[in-house]
């Protein structure tokens, strides 16, 4: 079982390292957001705590990077289906569960690397210079959880899709709403009640808030609550993804 998980993980990493242009491309978007939105709105946003909007945005942008990258990794399975490679994995004497775990951990790892690169660049851009190792660790734990849960979500979706046609829909109706309605871009406490309510049902909100607590030392949701909710979500979605993946036909 561990052998199979490691094998699938190794494949993800190898493919990731090879796709340098994609790595750079996916760093550009979050930095673009941060610079345009962050500095553009810095003067008009009033914030609790830190005061600087650019700094406030850093955890949101990092979480976004991890989430997008994870969902993409999970959805990769559709390509495997189309290129036939999935058959090679499914016919092997290993359980579907371990294939799914390997894929999830692999996707989460690559997402975490992307997130970390974004984090370093974003801190530099935003001039976020005061931080603690302890805070970093907390941020990492939340990034890992975002990575695992959203890769599993990608796998769950991919298991139900026949080809890449539905991908645009997923971008527009899942990924962007999750991001915009998560407290990544604006503080929840000042938001209209309806946005606030929606955000509280959005698992990414707890990820963003957790990362924010780690990096900035303040958050609107209690970090322990964030942790519990996100762990719960991760467990749920990994089980769901595993269940759907078991039924995939090559």
């Amino acid at each position: 079982m561990t052998g199979a998980i490691y094998t699938l993980w190794l494949r993800s990493i190898k493919r990731f390292i090879r796709s340098k242009s994609r790595i750079i491309g996916s760093l550009a978007q979050p930095l673009f957001f941060l610079i345009i939105l962050g500095f553009g709105l810095n003067s008009v946003m009033s914030l609790p705590g830190t005061g600087s909007y650019v700094k406030f945005m850093v955890p949101g942008i990092v979480s976004m990077t991890v989430m997008f990258s994870s969902i993409f990794s999970g959805i990769q399975i559709i390509w495997d289906k189309q290129f036939g490679f999935l058959k090679e994995t499914l016919i092997a004497p290993v359980s579907r569960t371990s294939i799914m775990f390997g894929q999830t951990i692999g996707g989460a790892t690559t997402a975490l690397i992307q997130g970390t690169l974004t984090l370093i660049l974003a801190m530099f851009v935003a001039g976020l210079t005061s931080f603690s190792l302890y805070g970093f660790l907390i941020a990492f734990v939340f990034m890992i959880l975002i990575g695992l849960s959203f890769t599993a979500l990608g796998i769950a979706i991919a298991s139900k899709m026949e080809d890449m046609h539905g991908f645009q829909l997923i971008m527009n109706f899942l990924m962007f709403p999750l991001f915009f309605l998560s407290g990544a871009l604006f503080p929840l406490s000042n938001a209209p009640i309806i946005l606030k309510t929606i955000a509280h049902f959005n698992p990414l909100s707890y990820g963003v808030e957790g990362v924010r607590y780690g990096l900035l030392g303040t958050s609107e949701i209690n970090p322990l609550l964030s942790f519990i909710v996100l762990v719960g979500f991760t467990v749920f979605i990994v089980i769901l993804g595993g269940y759907f993946f078991k039924k995939v036909n090559a």
């Binding site: 493919r15 090879r18 490679f85 090679e88």
Partner: protein, 329 residues
């Protein structure tokens, strides 16, 4: 030795197509078993069911004593497969594709390295082992798929059109290796191929499948004997007319009509050719070509399916092209 594969009333229906229609047969341990049939006959569907990738609509089958529905994990531990359609990871190198396979199949590390190099040498890809598969030609990919399939030496190895499109030398080398695997490691081989000479030389027994049904199953020699006599193949545009004339003569044991030819099964053909030509001439039927043969496996195939394998050959390639196009879209 016992049967390593037992198939009973196996059936697979896709929405409208009855792809495999109530087939039953068994394969003995250590056999090289050929599965022949025209395009769409149901070969791949049957192999996919045996390999646990598809669930049967009806019927039962066991591989290495394990039920293909209830003991899938055990079945997968007993088998290997070279697929008809491409199944490589194009973003990995040749070596990495092999290594991935070896790891999933628990081939121990030292042995794995050694065997990967040996097999890559066999298919003449050892110099390309660190190249990404996406830079490979169709034939190179095919060779890599075969090498990968031979890595873990399972109890039963399914080969679905493994050598399609490869040059004769490569094909011979690969089959020689597979024969050794069969003899020395006692690997049972189930193969489909469009090369009749290959099937004839290699297979201990052959099943011919058409429209989802097994229409004949025996050794190649027995299949040919069953047809008996000689085969006269006449190429003409007026085959129907010729058929109607020859039907009246008892020495013509049986007929088969094809696109632009007629095959006639005749005892002692040499003594009858002149008569047939004379009859054609008298009725103003032009004969373009004429050939006399002992029945080959090709004739057997023709006899049972009404199609020459040559008419068939083009299509799998077309399928492949279609696939590639679809993937690029």
């Amino acid at each position: 030795m016992g049967n390593i594969i037992e198939i009973k009333n196996l059936t697979k229906r896709f929405d409208k197509v009855l792809a495999v229609d109530n087939i039953s047969f068994s394969v003995k341990q250590g056999e090289i078993f050929g599965f022949l049939g025209p395009n769409g006959a149901g070969k791949t569907t049957t192999l996919s069911m045996l390999a646990t990738l598809l669930s049967p609509t009806k019927g039962k089958a066991s591989v290495n004593g394990f039920d293909i529905e209830k003991q899938r994990d055990n079945v997968r531990h007993s088998i290997g497969m070279v697929f008809q359609d491409p199944t490589l990871d194009e973003e990995l190198t040749a070596y990495e594709n092999m290594d991935f396979h070896g790891r999933l199949y628990n081939v121990p590390k030292n042995e794995r390295k050694k065997k990967i190099i040996e097999l890559l040498q066999l298919v003449e890809l050892d110099k390309k082992k660190n190249d990404l598969v996406k830079t490979f030609s169709g034939g190179m990919r095919r060779r890599l798929e075969i090498a990968r399939g031979l890595l873990h030496e399972p109890k039963v190895l399914f080969l679905d059109e493994p050598t399609l499109g490869l040059d004769p030398q490569t094909r011979n080398k690969i089959w020689a290796h597979i024969k050794v695997l069969n003899k020395e490691k006692n690997v049972t081989i189930i193969l489909t191929t469009h090369y009749m000479d290959e099937a004839d030389k290699l297979c201990d027994r052959i099943a011919i499948i058409d429209n989802g049904k097994i229409v004949a199953i025996n050794t190649s020699a027995n299949l040919k004997n069953k047809i008996g006599g000689d085969i006269i193949t006449i190429g003409t545009n007026e085959r129907e007319k010729l058929l109607n004339i020859l039907k009246k003569y008892k020495f013509c044991k049986s007929f088969k009509e094809h696109n632009s030819s007629l095959t006639i099964n005749v005892e002692h053909a040499e003594t009858r050719v002149a008569e047939i030509v004379k009859l054609a001439d008298r009725n103003k039927i032009t004969i373009h070509t004429l050939a006399i043969n002992k029945p080959t496996l090709e004739d057997v195939f023709l006899y049972y399916t009404g199609k020459t394998i040559r008419e068939e050959e083009a299509t799998p390639e077309d399928n492949f092209k279609f696939r590639v196009r679809r993937m690029r879209r």
